[in-house]
Amino acid sequence: MMVRVFVPRDTTAQAMGADEVADRLTAEADARGLEITLTRNGSRGLAWLEPLIEVETEAGRMAYGPVAVEDVADLLDAGLLEGTAEHPLAQGLTEAIPYLAHQQRLTFARIGVTDPLSIADYLAHDGFHGLETALTLDTQAIVDEVKTSGLRGRGGAAFPTGIKWQTVHDTPSDQKYIVCNADEGDSGTFADRLAMECDPYMLIEGMAIAGLAVGATQGYIYLRSEYPLAHRILDEAIERAEQAGYLGADIRGSGRRFDLEVRLGAGAYICGEETSLLESLEGKRGMVRYKPPLPAIEGLFGRPTVVNNVLSLAAIPYILAHGGQAYADYGMGRSRGTLALQLAGNVKRGGLVELAFGTTLRELMEDFGGGTFTERPLRAVQVGGPLCAYLPESQWDMPLDYETFAGVGAGIGHGGVVMFDDTVDMAQQARFSMEFCKVESCGKCTPCRIGSTRGVEVIDRILADQDRDANLELLDELCETMEDGSLCAMGGMTPFPVKSVMTHFPDDLQR
């Protein structure tokens, strides 16, 4: 009997040896005369179990992980293909693994379940349902559905997506664009990558819906060059979607057009800032633009442009398929829907955790994360990427909600949660924040370009105990200048992690 076996193909699974495991599995099965159908699925997002092999059984899919090449023969001996539970790597039914079972997966409902490039798999799991609905609605009704959902930009700025779409919708032009910001540069974030590598049609569908809503016929996915696998998968998915009539000149026979192309970035963090991204797409240096004009009015090539993060666009198919209200029913306060959290850094069980807004950091880091990888006490956590604050234990009971975090000078950003144990030197982390800004500043405004260089120097003097008190005061003033005087979030938010170290971990600056 043919048994279906799944070995994921996303970057993390591959980084942990999934390709070698898949090869060994095929070879061992051949040698033993066992018939298997191997599917290279996406990842379930349970990174600490990668490579996570699954075997289809009558009871459901059984999980095994993390599987090393050397484990394959042993697993087959133990009855892998019968779905044995009698092996140290057996994790039981995949969907009963608490880490997965306790999540609220709306956007990431399909990852790891399907073959990422199979349109049949996508259709079998609610795929293109949102696009089919959108094709029956007038453009304003699509925008209204997104407004009802309460969706706010998942890239970090949390601007209401529906309002942005309305502006582009209402601005007349001979050409409009949908641009997907897939320049996921924040350390500790990989949700965009998972969406693109494991469920690319979801992003394609979200962008096509956006195009229908605002009257744009051309979309670009601006993808960071550090994601070559996502690039290959997206290119292939776009081609297949065109052939199946979900993209191109006549979407599903509606007579409406939407073309899509992937464009690669080139290793510049600043190009995650939307105006810098647009400059880069136009073939220029990624220098930040002054706002106004807003990109929604004068964006790519001077035309009205929706610039949305991968996760914002990836939320759209669900919202159109199930209604904006179904999405808005999740969440708290003004933070509606679900948030894709990424547990990273020094964490025992790292991976993707999609939950409604409102969970506390502590629940996330302890119940899901299981504490630190090194099993030492947790000391600090940086939520939201390199431009967001380091949080001490006294702040771990805050609910994850945009307004609550903003209230204490912290941010949720793109949902990255980077954990550090008690060996971390917070002074070095503060120094790195300034150093990173120095490396990545576009150079257009002085507070960011010069301030970051001076910031590294001042911190070095503090660490060398030269006029420490005076230099601490200077650092505080420098942070204020950068915050108030910078053109964009790069220089304007680099002070957040630095100031959080000064406020919450002052002893590390006194050694």
């Binding site: 970057t11 980084a15 990174a47 500790g188 990989f190 965009d192 073939g283 990888f373 090194t374 390199p386």
Partner: protein, 163 residues
């Protein structure tokens, strides 16, 4: 990874001509050239500038803005170490110190045997399984100094493909 081609002005011109009519063609052109020959030769700049109606300064400005583009031939393999926070939290600082010491190079330099170019990268999106290292196009997770040495040894001892 296929071996990079030796560049010639006609080869550069072909890459430019294939893409120059796209809107915002410069980055796609630079990627195509670097993918083909491993770097962007100085002599490519006037060819690109002429074809796109830009000044040489504008083309040079774009090349120098982006970390990804390089203007010198790299070693046979490019090894990139993630320096970002999630990897720092699990030992990336020690790993980068080890890598520089054992290869006897700093970032953006190539080993004396021309085998390995060491680069820094800020996040490979493998943040739950760091420290992360990317060898050519392949990411490796949970890299320790010992596994780093093995990766490098494998690169140096890999048999040459006979064509």
């Amino acid at each position: 990874m296929s071996a990079p081609a030796e560049w010639t002005p006609p080869l550069i011109q072909d890459e430019v001509d294939a893409l120059k009519d796209k809107p915002g063609a410069l980055l796609p052109i630079l990627h195509a050239i670097q993918d083909r020959v491993g770097f962007i030769p100085d002599a490519a700049v006037p060819i690109i500038a002429e074809s796109l109606g830009l000044t040489r300064a504008e083309v040079h400005g774009v090349i120098s803005f982006y970390h990804h583009f390089r203007t010198a031939r790299p070693g046979s393999h490019v090894v990139r170490i993630c320096r970002a926070e999630a990897c720092q939290a699990v030992g990336a600082r020690a790993l980068e110190a080890h890598a520089k010491a054992s290869l006897e190079v700093d970032y953006h330099q190539t080993t004396r045997d021309q085998e390995i170019t060491l680069e820094a990268v800020y996040c490979l999106g493998n943040c739950a399984c760091g420290p992360s290292v990317c060898v050519d196009d392949r990411v490796h997770g949970r890299v320790t100094p010992e596994t780093f040495d093995r990766l490098v040894d494998d690169l140096r001892t890999a048999p040459l493909e006979v064509k």
